[in-house]
Amino acid sequence: MLALQILIDGFAISALYALGATGFTLIFGVSGVLNLSHGAIMVLAAVAAWAAASLFQLDTYSGALIGVAVAVVAAFATYFAVVQPIQRSRRIPNEEKEIFVLTGTLLWGIMIQELIAYFFTNNAKTVLPIVEGVVDIAGIRTPRNEIFTAVVCCLVIALLWLLVNRTRTGKAVLAASMNPRGVTLLGLELGSIYIVVWAIYGILAGIAGVLLGMFLGVSSYSVGPLTASAFSIVVLGGLGSVSGSLIAAFVVGYLETITAYLISPAYRTIPALLLLVAVMYVRPQGLLGRR
């Protein structure tokens, strides 16, 4: 009974983690950017969906769409206002651009977080779910919303896989992550590939954020933990490896759920952190990462 409960809850959480981390790892794989405003963009999407539904009386579908649209805008703003100026700056030496992008996106994330707190307070917000009610799965009462979350996550990830492996644009993105110089030599504009990647990232982060808002609720306090969990999932799976971060998301998701059910919710994040440290020592490039 408990095992089934863990299986169901763990799956929903893991799928959500996977979706959140995929966009993050895609950006890193293609442009080498670790976007530390990730958590802030997810929360922004959820808060936008919440505001559309609660303050402007829109239906839940439009609310969710607005949330995703806001996340895409925020992703582009991150790229054009923070990441690109740093990458193009001549005053920052190349070997230090990484730390500047990290610092810049971190500050940007804090700014978004503070603005959310200022306009919408720090209170936790739960987005009205698109589907309501509960169903009975072999004796476990499961909210329909939880199933919906898991299904949407899996669908979006499958679509992303199709996009990357089966379309011309997707293949260009994949190629850029393997060898940016080679892609340029083939006559593709790296700049436009980056724009595509940031758009995909915005959509993924937006969907993940809105679903998170429906499933668990968000507040401006969730910004830091969300970024940290995406970061650790991505490193566990191997920076830049999408399949690696999917596996890692399920490992972390289930590890947390098992700990929360069997030991105590207070210790929830500890085993995953210890696993992460162990992996860093034994296999620093992560499960499926390439050096």
Binding site: L34, S89, L107, E114, F231, P284
Partner: protein
Amino acid sequence: MSGFFKSRLFFISLAVVIIAATLPLYVSGYVLGLLTVAYYFGVFAMSWDLLFGFAGEVNFGPTFLIGVGAYTAGILNAQYGWSVYVCIVLGAFAAVIAGLVLALPALRVRGPYFGLTTLVAVLILQNFVVVFADLTGGEIGLTIPDVITIDAGANYWIALGFMTISALILYGLSQSPIGLVLQASGQDPVQAGALGFNIVKHKLAAFIVSAFFSGLSGALLVFYMGTASVGTVVDVSVGVNVIVAAVLGGRRTVLGAALGAIFLIVAGEFLRPTGELATFIVSAVALLVVLFFPGGFLGAALSHESR
């Protein structure tokens, strides 16, 4: 030119320290309290700059070192009643051990991987503090019974003196041959190794020095504030502030990091009337500096000087 500037920087710093030392004679205790915290914070930022600016190690977890020092000192005093000075010294040594633990992965992995390890170290320490609440005071924080002194002026002088001595040692170290080797091994470890320098030894030394000053400053801060809590010495956001302070002031300058830290704390206080927007404004200013003056305050000043 460089020698001339060095002496000028020296005289400017000397003048600033002398003026700062006379502050208790004519400013209020409130301002002194603010600056006391800012000075300890300055030592955090300078220690971080030694690791990042010179050894090239992106340490996202300065609060791991600070927290270990602060909590070791706090716990020994609050739970076992050891005397303040013994606690401070032991806190600094505990931080050195923490620094060695942190240095182990640094010798194996680089860049973002090392950055993450340090971040995880902070999260584990944070969980440890919350889980072992009997020992550490948990999320509420640990109340420290003893203080060094209750006199605001004396506390201020202790902090100023500590920051000045730390700055002298850290800056001296960064300008010494050791600092040059560190800088070389941070920029190109293979080449530096090929030149015959023992990189492992130098990096370990940088970690030990950085950890020592972080821990010492953390322990002193705990005895000044009379409390040790996750929110003041461990939380990731505290570490972020340390990093922002160092980058704002100018990385690879050591002294700039202290300026950045003092600016951050004083600016945060001035913006208090704006309420919740204070953090937003400070972050926005910091982002603008990062984007348009990547050298930071001192970096910008230095480049004007050399023209």
